[in-house]
């Protein structure tokens, strides 16, 4: 596995792969501290192309002031080991002087899709995401890129950006990987205390409850949201950021749970903000 830390080396490597061997390339953008979720993205990527690049960069511009940029877990040595085990061909680990040199001032913004859900509380978060992903696409020029569906809004934003800016890459979304008790895997789970870890499962339980209620005929988005709100409140140390039930493509709120309706949530458990989502299959024909 090659470990590359500058954009020019990275570009040279992928150019060599293409020119000399006509290799196709798949990119998995990450912020490191790999867990089973990341590893499953890598396994998918491996099947999608001849060469797999994993980028590992804790992107400061997608953290709002006061967020956990400083504490965000980092474990490069372990990440290198794990990536190597998954057959990653190149780990791209730029630093911020490389990604945001002096005078940097260009931003990519996907306006409507970035407004609601996580965008409400995380100001400029998705502008940072769209910008760094656009940069990575230009540096690595992948044929395919794989993203986790846990960050559902992010995935939709990237899909939209790729279409709107005519970027020549296929975007693949990969299902959420969960702990045994259902908690969606996330680097931020390491923040949780033992007690908080018990409450953290509330998102998964709420998802199951939502599926059950919809199967039993519940078709009102606001009623379901209110119910889930009350339900999550019964877990100690939780504070709901949002519960969104609406259109999975436009991320607009809806009144009725139709076939394919997105349920997405962000819940604070202690000082840790957790997200999760699912697609509800309503029976309403509206």
């Amino acid at each position: 596995m090659e470990i590359v830390s500058t954009c020019s080396e990275m570009r040279k490597l992928v150019l060599d792969w293409r020119r000399n061997s006509n290799f196709s390339i798949c990119l998995v953008p990450t912020m490191g501290c790999f867990h089973e979720g990341h590893l499953s993205l890598m396994r998918t990527a491996r099947e999608k192309a001849d060469r797999m690049v994993v980028s590992l960069y804790v992107n400061p511009t997608q953290f709002s002031p006061g967020e956990d940029l400083e504490q965000y877990p980092r474990n490069m040595r372990k990440d290198i080991h794990l990536a190597e085990n998954e057959g990653v061909h190149c780990l791209f680990t730029p630093d911020s002087s490389e990604m945001y040199p002096d005078g940097f001032q260009t931003w990519v913004e996907v306006t409507k899709l970035s407004k609601g859900l996580c965008g409400k509380s995380r100001q400029d978060h998705f502008r940072g995401v769209a910008t760094i992903v656009a940069k990575l696409f230009n540096i690595v020029q992948p044929d395919v890129a794989v993203f986790g569906q846990k960050d559902y809004q992010q995935l939709q934003i990237i899909r939209r950006m790729v279409e709107d800016l005519n970027i020549s890459v296929e975007i693949v979304g990969y299902p959420i990987i969960r702990e045994k008790d259902g908690l969606a895997m996330s680097s931020r789970n390491t923040y949780l205390s033992q007690e908080e870890r018990k409450s953290a499962v509330c998102l998964w339980h709420a998802i199951n409850r939502a599926h059950e209620m919809v199967a039993a005929g519940m078709d009102s988005c606001s009623e379901l949201a209110n119910h889930l709100r009350e339900y999550i409140k019964t877990y100690p140390a939780t504070r709901i950021d949002y519960i969104f039930i609406g259109d999975p493509d436009t991320l607009e709120k809806k009144e009725t749970i139709e076939a394919r309706t997105l349920l997405a949530m962000a819940v604070w458990v202690g000082k840790t903000r957790l997200i999760d989502n699912t697609i509800l299959m309503g029976t309403s024909q509206n």
Copy 2:
């Protein structure tokens, strides 16, 4: 010469050129209604790469409300003829349903460089420019792109965008082409009445006057600007939008005219807004 109007055809053509013939590609983005300025860009482009693509698209998102989007001169038949004569290999003429499909919402913004000069009066203009140029770069994937220096601020913004977003393209700026009396060539010159056409030369005369004054020892940006302001006012039907004297890279105002100082102007002549610029070579050592 091929005439292509969809992104997918355009992409297929350049992919064929690259894969089958290993051709390098040069792009000249234009809004059509070709004059000698455009033609000289094409002649430069022809020398820079094996294949030359000229895009012809009057981009609505770079016009502010109330501007001249509707009146902007169009002459496709003549443009095709002129492009063919210059050895253009492909004329890319998309329409707006192709470039801005339903749901479009992704914007590229170069923040600081877009604020002053033309950005002050032309709200969102440079956001529209950066976005359409990013799209064209992704569609055509050129090795080189050629832009006129008449739109000096635009050129700086594109250079910055390319660097910030790691776009793999060489940007070439080409000097301003002028009419016999010095008026910078522009599609908008066709708007001028006979009387206005006489006043339009004020920008060029002001540029010459500035060079003379700097050569004679003038080293104050504000004094020079005031002088030029008074001078331009002596021409009938003129109204100054801005006179900028400052740093040619950051587009920040300066006090002293140092070696390499940008003079850029926008002047209304009747209902036509004209721009022009030059680099002053001050003798001050500050």
